[in-house]
Every structure is written in C-alpha cells, then in structure tokens.
C-alpha cells in the first residue's frame, strides 16, 4: 500500500517543483547523516511515500541551487550493492530504476576504510558518483586527519569533507551538485583470478543494463536473484550459456567467494587511503581491533572460544551459579528452612491429605515447583544471562558467526545460523522462531532440527554443568557426545535435504568494552521474562503431576518409563526426570539434579542420563512453535527423530562406557 504525507506548509500545497528536475540520490549506511544532509538540502517541504510494493518509506524533496531544480531522494540505509534486507533492496531499486543523475554516497569519516567498500562498488557500477565524507568534526576530535583532495584524485570522483549537522561543507556540496559532470572513476583491479572470473562472465553479457558490466558480472557471481532475473530477461536465448558459466564459477568458489571479495575490497580501500587517512598511532590498531582479529581467525579464535566457554560457562555458570548459589538457595534456604516451615504451616492449616499434597507433597506446587523455579533455575539463569549479556555487549557474537561459518557450511548452514543457535542457549523456543530468518527452507529445517536435538537451553545447560562439574571426565563425555551428534546429524541432514550451500556475509560492528549498565539491564530484562514465564508452567506441571499421583497415572508412567531406563543402564527412578522433561527441558534437568543429590546415579549413569536428557524431545512450547514454523509433518518427524536419537545414543553410550570401564 502506498500513501503520501506532506509536512505542513504555511503556504498551502505547492506545485511539484521536481517536474523535469535532475535526480540526486543520497545513499549510505544507516546513521551516517544522510537524513540530516537531506533536510539541509531540501528544507521543510518533502514527500514521504512507501516504495511501491513494499512497506519501506522513501523521502523525496526539492532543492533549487544556481537556478536549477533538483529532486533529492533520501534512500533507506544500505551496506552493500548486494542487498540482504528489504530496505537495501529498495535503495538499490532506486539506483537501478530511477536512474539518478547523481548519487551522493555519504560516509562516516571515522569509519572511512570500512565504508569506502561501498563507494568502490558504486564506482565499479559506473554510476555518477560524488562522495561526502561526513562527521569530519567528530573525526578531527579523535585526531583523525583526512586528505579529501588526495582521495578525490585517487578515486576520480568529487569528494567533499563535511559535518552537515554543523552546516560545514553544505555550500561545497550544493556547488558540486550544480557543476557535476559524469566521469569515469579510477579503480584499482582485483586479484588476477577474480578479474578473470568477472571478465569471463562480463564477456558473455550482450544486453544493456543499468549497472556497468563488471558490477553486473560481480553481482551475478554473488548469485544476486534480482540481477539474475534482469539478465535472464536481457540475454534471452543466450542466458543458458551465462547461467552455465555462473554455475561453474560459483561452484568453484562456493567455499569463500563472499569473504574473498570482501577481503579484496578491504585491501583496495586500505591502499586508496594510504597517505589519505591519518589516525593517531594509538587509535590505528586499538585493543578491540586486536581482539576482534584474534576472535575470527581459526587458530586463535577457537582457543579463545574455549577459554570463554571454560571461564564463562563452566566456572561462572556451572561452578558458581549452579554450584555455590544453588547450594545456598536450594539446600540451605529451601530444604533447610523454608520447606520444613511451609510444610508444617500448610499441614496445620489444611486438614485434607490430598490438598496438603498439592502444595507441600512430593510434587507439590511449593515444595517442588516453586523450589525448582527459585532455588535451582533462578540462580542458574541469572548467572547464565549475566555471562550471555557480557558477551553480547562486547560484540563477540558476530565474530563467532564468522569463526564458525566454514564449519557450519559443512552441515548445510552458514554463519548466519549462529543467531538462532546462540539464542537457543537462552531459550530454544524463541530461537526456533528466529530460524525463519534463514535464507532457505533447507537451512531452516536443519537449524530447527539441531536446536531441538543438541542445543540445551540456559537452565538445562546450567544444571547439567552443576551436575557434571564434580566429574570432569563425565563432562567431557557429555560435551563430546553433543558436539559429535550436532555435526554428524547436521552433515547427514545437509546430504538428505536438497539445496545449495548458503551464503553468509556481514559487516562486523566494532568490538567494545561491555557497559555495566547495559549488562545489568539486559540480564534483568531476560530474567524477568524467564521467571514470569516459567513459574506458572512449573506450577501447572506440579498440578498435573499431583493429579497423576492421585490417579496413579503418574506411577504407571514412571513404572513403564522405568523399564526403558533399565535398558539404558539407569535406575528406574530416572524415569521421573524424563517425565518432567516432557513439560520443560529445565524441569527435567532439575529432576536429574534431585536424583543426583540423593546419590542414585554413579558417574557412568550420570553421563548416560545427562546425554539422553539433553538430546531428548523438546519441551511442549518448542514443539508447538516447530509445528507452527515448519508444519505438523516436519515437527512430528523431528520429534520422533530426536527421541530415537536420544535413546539410541543413551543405549550405545552405556554399552561403550561399560565396555571401556572408564567411568
């Protein structure tokens, strides 16, 4: 739906001054001052409309300078000519279809090197280009010096240094718009193999396109869908030849084409800025940049990841949160003081045994549900979310995405799937919903399956850490099983499900020192949600278990489940934890915690129970969201598959450990 709205004007409606006017499009990353420049150039009278067929707003206004009228278009933020979001698609559509007479690329002076990559793409596309290096005042404040004249000479396009929020450079920008004459930008070449690939594809293109052939060929090599459709229409009968070559080239470069291209562009930008961009020595390679580089390189990134997991997850969440804090709360407060007191109180107040059982019985709302939620789960999720927020606020997660991208490609995913996987450690249900943002159906199904199977949620993970931290070898067995299952099942799923390797490319935001206020706010917010969500469910589970106990259904289930447990080499009482697991993953893990504290499990049994329970069927909420996102058939198939794998792995692990006699 399209709509129009105009800012109010004291002179009433004005005639459209843009009729026959030259078009000038402002492009650039979000938050670089495009809209400030737009407002400075156009004044108050603007048109805001949805771009046809989208919900993305595009603002247009009119500028009159040196007697000539110009239509100024403020495009949505874009990071690259290869669009990933609807906003970027719209911004590129404007460049392709509106055919602006001039494109002003606005960049942030402080991040010139990073943003110059898009300038190179625009220049490569043969578009009429002018570069505005904005926020010069901020850059100068940081001691950065930019030689815009030298940059203009090297690029072969007009370059203006500005601080538009302070009206600096506006006269020069207006003057350059009025006197702009199209010219060909000077661009350094890519490496020989890339230039050859581009030339091979470009030589087959016979049609006329809005972008230069080199840029068109590069977008085709990146499998840009819109460009492929345009070229299919433009080439007609010749298209199958182009497509065959593209298939061959993209297959050859399938592992890292986007990364290689990005690295090459970065190299060119760096070379262009040699002698142009001068920053104070200490800010050239900051500590955050050093850590960032270490985090994405496999040889340093993997040990760094293991260190983060050891100290953050094992020591802080497992040993401190699930060990020390839970001991204090659950054993010290609940078992030592609160439960005996409330049991006596309820029994004094309520004479009926059945009702007493509902509140303070074996599966009572207070003695089990409330104790699990507050005494066990709360300290664990608090420490987990604190650790999670710290990593999140530092900007580590996008580095993790780049680090695991190659590995994830082997299992049919890409670095992008790190988003649902990381969120899955918080809550698998919400993470399953996020899988919808993955590019292909194949990726979505694989990610949904792996989330249901091998990604434990925060509370489950914390409790398992607490249980296994006393037995490091059991912990290693548990970790090895999960990693192997994750990779093997992912690899097999990628073979079974048809489809091509996904593409992943992202611009890394800077790493930063985590802010205490941000960490505390995020931790509090996540804990608030978690607690509000789990407490009613734990109470409901207690009520259902109470009904089950009164009607003996629960005893029957525990009896039948006990037989399966015996096959796995576990005591039959473990069936109770698995029945709890049907309600929620963390409830099941808390049940296991109870069994362990009663001394019912030896290390081998603990390893088998922890592995089986972690892999075991997703909780009710996750199953519902799987059904909604992937359909009933897929959800059911995943549920059955996960159950089979969980018990199958538990059975095999028990046999292997018995034979090896290591635990």
């Amino acid at each position: 739906m399209s709509f129009l709205k105009r800012k109010s004007s004291c002179h009433g409606p004005q005639p459209d001054a843009s009729c026959g006017a030259k078009k000038v499009a402002l492009v650039g990353n979000p938050n670089v001052g495009k809209s400030v420049l737009f407002n400075a150039l156009t004044g108050a009278y603007v048109t805001v409309s949805n771009y046809p067929g989208t919900s993305v707003e595009v603002t247009r206004g009119t500028m009159v300078t040196e007697g000539q009228s110009y239509e100024i278009i403020d495009t949505p933020g874009m990071y690259s000519l290869l669009p990933m979001t609807e906003e970027e698609r719209v911004a590129r559509e404007i460049l392709l279809k509106d055919s602006p007479d001039l494109i002003i690329h606005v960049i942030d002076a402080r991040n010139t090197e990073r943003m110059l990559s898009m300038t190179l793409q625009l220049a490569e596309a043969g578009l009429p280009l002018m570069l505005v290096v904005n926020m010069m005042d901020e850059a100068e404040r940081l001691g950065i010096d930019i030689d815009v004249a030298l940059l203009a000479e090297r690029l072969g396009v007009p370059v203006i240094g500005a601080a538009v929020a302070k009206k600096r450079g506006l006269t020069e920008i207006r003057h350059n718009i009025a006197h702009y004459t199209p010219r060909k930008a000077k661009l350094p070449a890519y490496s020989a193999w890339l230039e050859k690939d581009i030339a091979d594809v470009a030589s087959l293109l016979g049609g006329e396109y809005a972008l230069d052939r080199k840029a068109t060929a590069l977008l085709l090599l990146q499998r840009d869908q819109t460009m492929m459709e345009m070229v299919a229409a433009g080439e007609g009968e010749n298209y199958p030849v182009v497509e065959a070559l593209l298939k061959e080239k993209t297959f050859m470069r399938r592992e890292s084409f986007h990364l290689d291209l990005s690295v090459e562009r970065k190299g060119i930008a760096k070379a262009l800025l040699e002698g142009v961009f001068r920053a104070p020595e200490e800010s050239r390679i900051s500590m955050s940049e050093r850590i960032s580089t270490l985090a994405v390189r496999p040889w340093t990134g993997i040990p760094l990841l293991l260190l983060v997991l050891y100290f953050g997850l094992y020591q802080f969440v497992g040993v401190f949160g699930a060990g020390t804090l839970v001991d204090y709360l659950e054993e010290g407060f609940f078992e030592g003081h609160f439960n005996p007191w409330i049991t006596v109180l309820i029994k004094d107040l309520i004479p009926w045994w059945a009702i007493q059982e509902l509140f303070v019985g074996e599966y009572g709302i207070i003695t089990l549900g409330f104790r699990y939620a507050v005494g066990i789960i709360l300290p664990i999720v608090a420490t987990f979310f604190l650790f999670f927020s710290l990593l999140e606020d530092s900007g580590y997660f996008p580095r993790l995405a780049l680090l695991v991208d190659r590995l994830f490609k082997k299992i049919g995913l890409s670095g992008r799937a790190v988003i649902p996987m990381v969120l899955g450690f918080g809550c698998d249900t919400m993470a399953t919903m996020v899988t919808r943002t993955l590019e292909t159906v194949r990726e979505r199904i694989i990610a949904t399956l792996l989330l249901a199977l091998a990604i434990p949620c925060s509370a489950q993970l914390g409790i398992i850490m607490a249980l296994l931290s006393q037995y490091p070898r059991v912990l290693l067995v548990w970790l090895a099983c999960l990693v192997i299952i994750f990779l093997v099942v992912g690899y097999l799923a990628s073979l079974v499900l048809p489809g091509s390797a996904p593409i992943f490319y992202m611009e890394l935001p800077p790493m930063r020192l985590p802010q205490l206020s941000n960490i505390l706010t995020k931790t509090y917010s996540r804990m608030q949600w978690y607690f509000v969500e789990i407490l009613p469910l734990f109470i409901l589970a207690s009520v259902l278990l109470w009904i089950g106990k009164l009607t003996h259904i629960f005893d029957m289930m525990a009896e039948e489940g006990g037989k399966v447990m015996l096959i796995l080499g576990l005591p039959k009482e473990t069936a109770v934890a698995f029945i709890f697991g049907f309600f929620r993953r963390d409830y099941g893990a808390a049940g296991l915690y109870d069994l362990q504290t009663k001394g019912l499990l030896n290390p081998r049994q603990l390893a088998v129970a922890a592995v089986t329970l972690t892999l075991f069927i997703p909780c009710v909420a996750q199953f519902l969201i799987m059904k909604k996102e992937r359909g009933a058939k897929v959800a059911l198939a995943i549920g059955l598959f996960v159950t089979t794998i969980a018990f199958g792995t538990g059975y095999l692990l028990n046999k292997i450990l018995l034979a090896a006699g290591t635990l």
Binding site: G395, P398, I419, L423, M430, V434, P509
Partner: protein
C-alpha cells in the same frame, strides 16, 4: 536502540516483534532487529523509571 549482533541502530517502532502465533504471546519483551532479526530485550519499565529518577537527580536530560 542498537542491535548487539549487527550493530544496526533502530527505534522500537522499527523493530520486528514476531509475536503472532508465538506461545509466549508477546510476554518475552524481546524486539527483533529489522536487519538481522537478532533479539534485543526491551528496556524494562523499572529500569526506565530508575533512569528517569537518576536523571532528575543528576540533571541529565535525554537528547532530543
């Protein structure tokens, strides 16, 4: 607000929520980045109030 995954800055109005059909029915208080869909927790009311009170005492005003 700023996305902790891709660094994109967006307003609460621009954020995706994805609440339709979710069993949590909007109770998770999470906002999704319009660029990469990473989930960012919404600032709780208590924190907003505390910031307001703190702002009053310190004389810090939100930039317009």
């Amino acid at each position: 607000m700023r996305c902790d995954f891709c660094g994109h800055e967006f307003s609460v109005e621009e954020a995706n929520t994805g609440c339709r059909g979710c069993p949590f029915g909007g109770n998770c208080h999470m906002l999704k980045c319009p660029r990469c869909n990473y989930e960012v927790p919404k600032e709780p009311a208590l924190i907003r109030k505390l910031k307001k009170i703190f702002g009053k005492f310190t004389g810090v005003k939100k930039e317009q």
